[in-house]
Amino acid sequence: MPPDSTDLLQGTLEMLVLKALSLEPMHGWGIGNRIGQLSRDAFEIQQGSLYPALQRMLRKGWISSEWRITENNRRARYYLLTRAGRRQLDTETAAWERASTAVNGILRARLAEGG
């Protein structure tokens, strides 16, 4: 399978979805809401873009879905993190941390030299 994070935005969105779902199973609106909360609305995405992302992640086997009844007694499609999804989250988190550490290091070095 080709690398999953070629598209930075797409990859990031998927990582955020994984992160949101790592806490509990949620429906689409809930995931969007949670990402908004977690990022303090730093990511301006159209909410509709969640659904293609969820569809891709279903195919990758990172998440599964089932219809449940919400607390308000309505039918909604809930997404659950699979074991593969959890592994993917760990990998991506680690990779992200490595990358951001590296990038931060570079940026600081630049600043130190230039400053």
Binding site: H27, G28, Q47, S49, K60, G61, R77
Partner: protein, 905 residues
């Protein structure tokens, strides 16, 4: 894991497509509802909350599309959806669907049938032939006095010469086709196809014998091969009940052969006209025919006995192979010249050779039938183009009508690519249905065409004919592309804003130049085809109406075969005389005569006429030698003097009867009776030339040569005088008007009177005449059928376009009516436009037909390709159809109520 989940999701998307779609819609609906709820909870008014929620989500339909893409089953899903949509669309307009399927079906069917026949006749390799690409038939070509000829049958000596003097070939074989009486002991003698082949012939095939063995080189030697035979599988199964026949004796022709083997199923050799039942060594053929030819057939060059097959050695090109053969041919001609100084010099005849197609129909000297067939195949192609143009026009009109629907789809975010895909799917479905219909048409018509063209007994079954099915499918795909272009262009060119604003009122109702072009093309091509059809039908009528100068219907041709090589000439002559007498005495036989050659087999002899320098310069003079009752048998009118009489026998003064045309050519303005001609013929040609043969009568002109425009110079000589031993051919005039009914009785009665294993072959003279006019009959039939087809297709197209047009202009016409235009004026307007369109097509079509006349002319018979009657009738007919096709919708438009039309929408 990833692979499995991927597969699962994709399958789900495909199999439970409806549910997946519903889930997605519900999920998004839930999302929006929840979002609105949330915003209301934060204090927004419901209306503002809804607006904001929609903004935050983005276009629902767009996100649905992107999500569908993410399912990874896009292509298939789209296809399924397009197919469904096509199915629904076509069910809504069954008339349209039926018209298109029928039109394409006829077009594809005509082409599939023609391909099936042409493929069988020309291209499909003979079954079981090993590596057919390297196998060739040898054609020996000459050009004498500007006339090209290509011989495939030449002396056996030449075959040996070519084999000995060429180096570029791996294999050589000689093949010679005959029809012999096969079997013995009375009733079960049948005339069968017998192939005399060299022992090397079987090596060309990957075909082990079903039983026994083939014969070998030691059994195929000059002067006389071994009397061994291989029989065909069908003959073995049919007549021998698959018994162990090896070692049995079978009388073939005049000789008795021992069966040594049975060819496998499907083995037909390389004979184009029906499968031979028996294969014998070619070196036994001469002895089988009689002692006259058996002695020198392999050293002399006077008997065209054999055809020749060669296989190129590896790495040798066709050009090299042909050059090699040509060199050998020149040497062989030199050898022939050494024996006979009258062999023309190479500089006069330019001898060449060709390693050409095994099937003669594909070779340089194809039969007129094969040439007509190629023409007709071209015609079938044009019919298909017309059909495609017509269908494209119908589809275009349809898509233009649905333009508003398309616009809405575009506005909803459906991509233009998807719209094109929809158009193509619709075309494809229709074309495939058409393809299926076409194969049914082809199966039906192919059987009919086959009976006219292909050797008897050859199968025409398309069910397992993958070449033809493949061609039909290929045509269907081509039709799809051709017919989908127009609608696809319209679909993609649709301009959103203007379309939505304009509404259905004039939603692209204007006729596009493309549509007009298609229609004009259709009409023009139909006119070309109809003109061709007219010319061929008229040719055929001429050929049929041609006064033959005799009445073949009540006449039977009888050929006797004594099958006894040891019979002396005297005995044979006696037997023939007895048979002629017995035949005359048969009940139902009015007259009987012996002749020296059948109809349409030319005979010429050296002819000198006092006072004329070169008789040959005046044309070709043919003679028929016959016994005294000949003119009565044929019912040829004797115009002056007398016919042949029983007293014109050996020892009596030499006499002849000449045809009227010959008399006028030789003695213009004079009485030919009593004139003298000198004929180098009979047992002593020199004597004949020295002696005067007196003209004693003038007979009506007859068509006894090729049907071509022939001056009909014929003269008749008494057979009893020049060849009292008679010949094996007799003509019997029956008392009924149709001889074919009596054929079997005559055959049985005469065969019973033949000594030993002798037998007779009987066939109606009419059949020989019919065979001669076959190429015209074929051309006339097929051209008429295809011309009619094109006519119908063009008429349907014209009607469809005009009526769509009128329907689209109903508002405009309504306005005109409301403004006081009289109904007549409206009709004139509509019809005028239709007819103008057709007229331009007709003009172009007639121009093309006239330009093509040069190539058609040689195929016609007493018919000018410029015949104004034919072209006029076709043009008039087409215009009438255009008139009718536009009149119907025009009249319908007249009944429109302007107030309703204007209130619409």
């Amino acid at each position: 894991m990833g692979v499995l989940s991927d597969l699962r999701e994709r399958l789900r998307a495909l199999v439970f497509r409806g549910r997946v779609e519903r889930d997605m819609a519900e999920e998004m609906r839930f999302h929006l509802a929840r979002e609105i709820e949330e915003r209301v909870r934060h204090g927004a008014t419901p209306a503002a909350a809804r607006r904001e929620a929609q903004l935050a989500f983005g276009g629902v339909e767009q996100w649905k599309e992107v999500t569908r893409d993410a399912r990874g089953t896009r292509m298939l899903e789209d296809l399924v959806r397009d197919l469904r949509q096509t199915w629904r669309g076509l069910r809504r307009s069954p008339g349209f669907a039926a018209t298109v399927i029928l039109t394409l079906g006829l077009g594809i069917g005509a082409n599939a049938a023609m391909f099936g026949v042409i493929d069988r006749l020309m291209f499909r390799p003979f079954p079981l032939l090993r590596d057919p690409g390297t196998v060739h038939r040898v054609y020996l070509q000459t050009t004498y006095q500007g006339r090209n000829s290509a011989n495939t049958v030449f002396p056996y000596t030449r075959y040996l010469d070519l084999q000995g003097a060429t180096t570029r070939f791996a294999e050589y074989a000689a093949v010679s086709e005959w029809r012999f009486g096969v079997g013995g002991g009375g009733e079960d003698i049948r005339v069968r196809k017998v192939a005399g082949v060299s022992a090397s012939f079987f090596g060309f095939f990957d075909a082990a014998p079903a039983l026994g063995r083939y014969f070998g080189p030691a059994e195929d030697v000059v002067p006389m091969g071994a009397l061994v035979a291989v029989i065909s599988h069908a003959y073995w199964q049919g007549d021998f009940g698959s018994a162990d026949v090896v070692g049995r004796v079978l009388k073939v022709g005049q000789l008795s052969y021992t069966i040594v083997g049975v060819a496998p199923v499907g083995f037909v050799g390389t004979v184009s006209g029906g499968t031979p039942d028996v294969f014998v060594p070619i070196t036994t053929i001469p002895a089988n025919l009689g002692p006259w030819s058996a002695g020198d057939y392999f050293t002399a060059y006077n008997w065209d006995l054999t055809e020749m097959l060669v296989r190129r050695a590896p790495g040798v090109s066709v050009a090299e192979a042909s050059a090699d053969l040509a060199r050998a041919y020149v040497r062989s001609r030199a050898a022939a010249r050494a024996l006979n100084p009258r062999v023309l010099a190479d500089s006069l005849v330019r001898p060449r050779a060709l390693a050409g197609p095994v099937k003669t129909a594909a070779g340089p000297q194809a039969s007129p039938e094969a040439r007509v067939l190629l023409w007709v195949a071209g015609v079938a192609g044009i019919v298909l183009i017309i059909a495609c143009a017509s269908v494209a026009n119908l589809m275009l009109a349809r898509v233009i009508r649905r333009r508003r629907e398309l616009t809405v789809q575009l506005a909803l975010g459906v991509s233009r690519g998807r719209l094109v895909a929809q158009c193509v799917t619709e075309s494809l479905v229709l074309a495939l249905c058409g393809c299926f219909a076409g194969l049914l048409v082809a199966q039906g018509s192919g059987v009919a065409i086959r009976s006219l063209l292909l050797p008897e007994g050859s199968a025409f079954n398309l069910a397992d004919d993958w070449r033809t099915i493949g061609v039909a499918l290929g045509l269907a795909v081509a039709c799809t592309l051709l017919t989908a272009i127009g609608p696809a262009v319209v679909a993609t060119r649709t301009d959103l804003a203007t379309m939505l604003k304009a509404g259905a009122r004039d939603g692209g109702r204007r006729r596009s130049a493309f549509q007009v072009g298609l229609l004009v093309l259709q009409v023009a091509l139909s006119v070309v085809l109809l003109a061709g059809a007219g010319l061929f039908v008229s040719s055929f009528r001429h050929a049929r109406a041609l006064p033959l100068g005799y009445d073949p219907r009540p006449v039977l041709e009888v050929i006797s075969d004594y099958r006894s090589p040891t019979m002396s000439e005297e005995d044979r002559a006696t037997a023939r005389r007895r048979l002629l007498a017995e035949a005359s005495a048969l009940p139902g036989v009015e007259f009987a005569a012996a002749i020296n050659s059948g109809l349409f087999r030319t005979n010429t002899a050296e002819l000198r006429v006092p006072g004329i320098d070169s008789v040959a310069g005046l044309g070709r003079f043919n003679f028929q030698m016959a016994t005294s009752e000949y003119f009565k048998v044929m019912r040829i009118e004797v115009l002056r003097g007398r016919g042949l009489e029983a007293d014109d026998r050996a020892g009596a003064p030499r006499v002849t009867v000449v045809s009227q045309a010959m008399a006028e050519a030789l003695w213009p303005g004079r009485d030919p009776i009593g004139e003298c001609i000198h004929v180098g013929l009979g047992q002593a040609p020199e004597l004949g030339l020295a002696e005067c043969t007196t003209v004693v009568g003038v007979a009506a002109n007859t068509v006894q040569q090729a049907f071509a425009d022939d001056p009909m110079y014929m003269y008749y000589l008494p057979m009893e005088q020049l060849a009292p031993e008679l010949t094996s051919t007799m003509l019997l005039r029956m008392s009924g008007s149709k001889a074919s009914a009596e054929m079997e009785r005559v055959r049985l009665e005469l065969t019973a009177r033949m000594p030993g294993d002798g037998f007779v072959v009987v066939r109606p003279l009419q059949q020989i005449v019919d065979d001669k006019s076959r190429s015209w009959r074929l051309g006339a039939t097929l051209f008429a059928v295809f011309g009619g087809l094109a006519f119908v297709v063009a008429a349907v197209g014209l009607y469809g376009l005009v009526s769509y047009d009128v329907e689209g202009r109903s508002r405009e016409l309504g306005v005109r009516a409301a403004l006081g235009a009289r109904p007549g004026a409206v009709v004139r307007l509509v019809v005028g436009q239709g007819v103008r369109l057709a007229l331009s097509g007709v003009v172009i079509g007639v121009a093309i037909a006239l330009a093509a006349s040069r190539w058609v002319e040689p195929l016609l018979f007493q018919q000018s390709a410029w015949d104004p009657r034919v072209h006029g009738a076709v043009a008039g007919g087409m215009l009438l159809v255009a008139l009718g096709a536009s009149l119907v919708p025009a009249l319908r438009s007249m009944r429109l109520d302007p107030s309703i039309v204007l209130r619409e929408e």
